[in-house]
């Protein structure tokens, strides 16, 4: 079988062996969960419960307030203890519904759907609060309601970020559910083809998926183990050789990309009526004593999860998501959300934090950039306040994958320069 890929990119140390052999294990939350009303891109949900209300796992506690917004559900049964502003993963404060856990885990479900129509699937995705679980957390029903006809649905099972193994375990252990989910997504989109892409380092998960996919007319493809293989534009190019034009969306080339875990969540929502309040989270990093893959209820604090996995004394950095694009947190207070794929507990040695030195113009950043940009030029210009001149190097096309900063021998903050250039250009254009 031919292994497909995109051009350029990097090979960071995978470190998946830390957690890849740990089967998904449930971690039940502690006395309280704090469920954020903003776990998605778009308008925060509006709480529909008050202090003292009884809720069950799966009870609606926050209602979507706009088209781009998502419902939020309680993840435990118990009593609403507080509605308070708390810091989220990014450090920004948002409203959380704090629920006192009664440890009974009584459940509330939506109606089960058998053989639903297109519209019913999309409505269910909205009802169940499903968002993209690969990290972006875009409301899934909005993605499914795409206007352009879609001919290829791509399921991203590449999981190209180092350390993370949550999707791998899901695809391996619950392949049938993932495939059923893909079938539902394909139907909702009216797509002719559906292709599940898995990186070559997850051969067993690929085989497991293939077993169920073939019967459903769903294609499977192995893609090269290379970062950022799971980048939307990179994956589309690898599998279809279509290039998403600058400033356009995958829908413009007839493709939709979604994550394997999202498809699985849709399957649970349709077949079992289970809203999205639980997900698989990889806890890994050299400072995690017992790395693993845990089925975690949203609202569980990262601190609680970290204690469960054990924290080594040389722990210096906590990252939600992967090491290439994840967000570093200044405490372990924030709650696990619908899009938290991993919690990394990192040591000094693995982050390799060193002071930046002058650029030596080696062009390694340009040579690995999957978008063929010139990060060193943007970096040099933006530090001299030459915003206008950076436009020539198109920082607005940067996908912030971090490949440039990863390879930089001078350890320059290249991604940050690209972000700064993007912001400054936008500010200028608004003026």
């Amino acid at each position: 079988m031919k292994i497909k890929t995109f051009r350029y990119g990097v090979h960071p140390e995978e470190r998946k062996e830390l957690s890849k052999n740990a089967p998904i294990a449930a971690v039940l939350p502690g006395e309280r969960v704090a469920v954020p009303m903003s776990q998605h891109i778009g308008a925060p949900a509006e709480p529909v419960v008050n202090v003292g209300d009884r809720v069950k796992a799966g009870s609606l506690i926050g209602r979507a307030t706009a088209i781009v917004s998502a419902n939020v559900f309680s993840s435990v049964s118990g009593t609403v203890a507080a509605l308070e502003m708390k810091e989220g993963v990014s450090g920004a404060k948002c409203l959380h519904v704090v629920i006192e856990n009664d440890f009974k885990y009584e459940e509330e479900r939506l109606a089960m759907l058998t053989d639903p129509e297109r519209e019913e699937i999309i409505a269910r995705a909205r009802e169940a609060g499903i968002v993209g679980m690969g990290g972006a957390a875009f409301p899934f029903d909005v993605k499914l309601s795409v206007k352009n006809p879609v001919d290829i649905l791509l399921i991203n099972g590449s999981e190209c970020e180092p350390y993370i193994t949550c999707d791998y375990r899901l695809m391996l252990e619950r392949a049938e559910g993932v495939v059923s989910g893909v079938k539902l997504v394909r139907k909702a989109l009216g797509a002719k083809r559906a292709v599940i892409a898995v990186e070559a380092n997850k051969r067993d998960a690929f085989d497991a998926l293939q077993r169920y996919a073939a019967a459903e007319g769903i294609e499977t493809a192995l893609v090269k183990t290379k970062y950022p293989q799971g980048g939307e534009k990179q994956l589309i190019y690898a599998l279809t050789k279509r290039k998403v034009p600058a400033g356009k969306l995958p829908g413009d080339v007839g493709c939709i990309v979604t994550n394997a875990a999202t498809a699985y969540a849709l399957y649970e929502a349709v077949v079992f009526g289970k809203p999205l309040y639980e997900r698989v989270v990889t806890v890994s990093g050299l400072a995690a004593a017992r790395p693993g893959n845990f089925s975690v209820r949203t609202g569980t604090s990262f601190g609680y999860l970290a204690k469960h996995a054990g924290i080594a004394s040389d722990f210096v950095k906590a990252v939600q998501g992967g090491p290439m694009m994840g967000v570093s947190m200044h405490s372990l207070e924030p709650s696990v959300t619908k899009s938290s794929g991993a919690l990394l507990l990192l040591t000094e040695g693995e982050i390799r934090a060193v002071e930046p030195t002058p650029c030596i113009n080696c062009a390694r950043c340009a040579n690995v950039c999957p978008m063929s940009l010139m990060p060193m030029k943007t970096d040099a210009l933006i530090l001299k306040d030459k915003t206008e001149e950076t436009k020539k190097y198109h920082p607005e096309l940067c996908i912030e994958c971090g490949s440039c900063a990863y390879v930089c021998p001078a350890k320059r903050p290249l991604v940050q320069s690209q972000r700064l250039a993007k912001k400054l250009i936008l500010n200028r254009e608004r003026r």
Binding site: R7, P12, P162, K233, K243, V244, P245, A246, G303, I311, A312, S313, F315, V316, K317, A318, P323, M324, M325, G326, S328, M329, H330, S331, L344, L346, E350, I351, R352, A353, V354, T357, P358, C359, I360, N361, C362, A363, A366, N367, P370, M371, S372, M374, M376, K377, K392, H394, L397, E400, G402, A405, Y406, V407, P409, A410, P413, V415, Q416, R419
Partner: protein
């Protein structure tokens, strides 16, 4: 383990490759030791002295520049050692001691630091310094000794030639002069095996091609240099040897194996800050250097063209990069609007 411990917060990415600027420089220093050892074996211990003087002067020049400009000392990045070694290996094995001293200081102080230091210089410091020395001390820079003959045990005077003024080992003919003179005759009378082994007169580091090939393999394996540059340059030298001399295969290997072609292709054209950052630009740069080398060798007033070709292409690098700017993935140039152009003029 308390949860209140202060955690490190930075923007992504949260990891990086192990490669640093200093490690790159160390790799290059290791690679430069192959031709250095070859040079000492071929021409005696004075060659080592020359290279050490050039290194000392290059490091000293950078250190002194930082001192008088009250800037932090930058010699710790080891790049001045690389510059000094490359310059030293580009000098004749018995050159007077003041030549590497002046050259080293010139390379780092004038060519590198004056333009902003590491990564900012627009011309290769070693190549520029070599050309400066050629103009300043033409005779000393063009006096080469024959390699040591190991078929009989060489005496101490031979091994230490250069420390005392002694012209006994000077050789008149260099292969480059041969090639130049033979261009009209149709075929150069050089022994290819001698060229390959370095059994000829020439500069310290340039003559032994086996050593340079080992360096190239080392640098490619550790991904220090861009493979496109030596590949493009050597192919270009071969192609233009074929075309410009118009004598069939006769001049291809003699041109590739003589003078500074191999050394420049591996160590000098590959200098990061003076070579293009764009993919297409890199090919054009390498090919252009090959053309210039052969043009100078065939029609120029000098026997050797590699250093001049390096310098010339260095100067063209910013222009090449501007013209060859890589188009971002999925980006198409917006069509030009005529109305806009008119409005701009008004």
């Amino acid at each position: 383990m308390s949860e209140n411990k202060k955690l490190l917060v930075t923007p992504s990415p949260h990891t990086g490759s192990a490669l640093t600027t200093k490690k790159i420089m160390l790799h290059v220093i290791v690679a430069l030791c192959f031709p250095l050892v070859a040079g000492v074996v071929l021409y005696g211990f004075y060659a080592l002295f020359v290279v050490l003087l050039a290194v000392a002067a290059a490091v000293g020049g950078e250190w002194f520049y930082n001192l008088i400009r009250k800037k932090p000392n930058t010699t710790g990045d080891l790049s001045a050692i690389v510059t000094g070694m490359i310059l030293g290996l580009n000098l004749p094995p018995t050159v007077p001691f003041y030549v590497p001293l002046v050259g080293g200081v010139f390379a780092t102080m004038f060519v590198k630091m004056l333009f902003g230091g590491l990564g900012k210089n627009f011309a290769n410091p070693a190549a520029t310094a070599r050309i400066f020395l050629l103009l300043a001390w033409g005779t000393q820079m063009m006096t080469f000794i024959a390699p040591i003959d190991y078929s009989t045990a060489p005496d101490a005077a031979r091994l230490f030639a250069g420390f005392v003024s002694d012209n006994a080992y000077v050789t008149s003919a260099t292969p480059l002069a041969d090639i130049k003179n033979a261009a009209a005759a149709g075929a150069p009378g050089v022994d290819l095996m001698d060229l390959f082994l370095g059994n000829i007169g020439g500069t310290i580091g340039e003559t032994c091609k086996i050593a340079i090939i080992l360096s190239m393999i080392y640098l490619l394996v550790f991904r220090v240099i861009d493979w496109k540059i030596p590949t493009g340059y050597f192919v270009s030298v071969a192609v233009f040897s074929l075309i410009i001399y118009n004598e069939g295969w006769n001049f291809i290997l003699p041109n590739l194996l003589s003078g500074g072609v191999m050394f420049a292709g591996v160590f000098m054209l590959t200098d990061y800050s003076t070579s293009p950052d764009t993919r297409l630009g890199t090919w054009i740069y390498a090919a252009g250097a090959g053309l210039m080398t052969i043009l100078i060798r065939r029609y120029g007033g000098m026997n050797e063209g590699a250093s001049f070709a390096v310098l010339l292409m260095n100067l063209l690098t910013p222009l090449i990069d501007k013209i060859c700017l890589t188009r971002p993935f999925g980006y198409k140039k917006p069509p030009k609007k005529k109305a806009d152009a008119g409005g701009g003029a008004a």
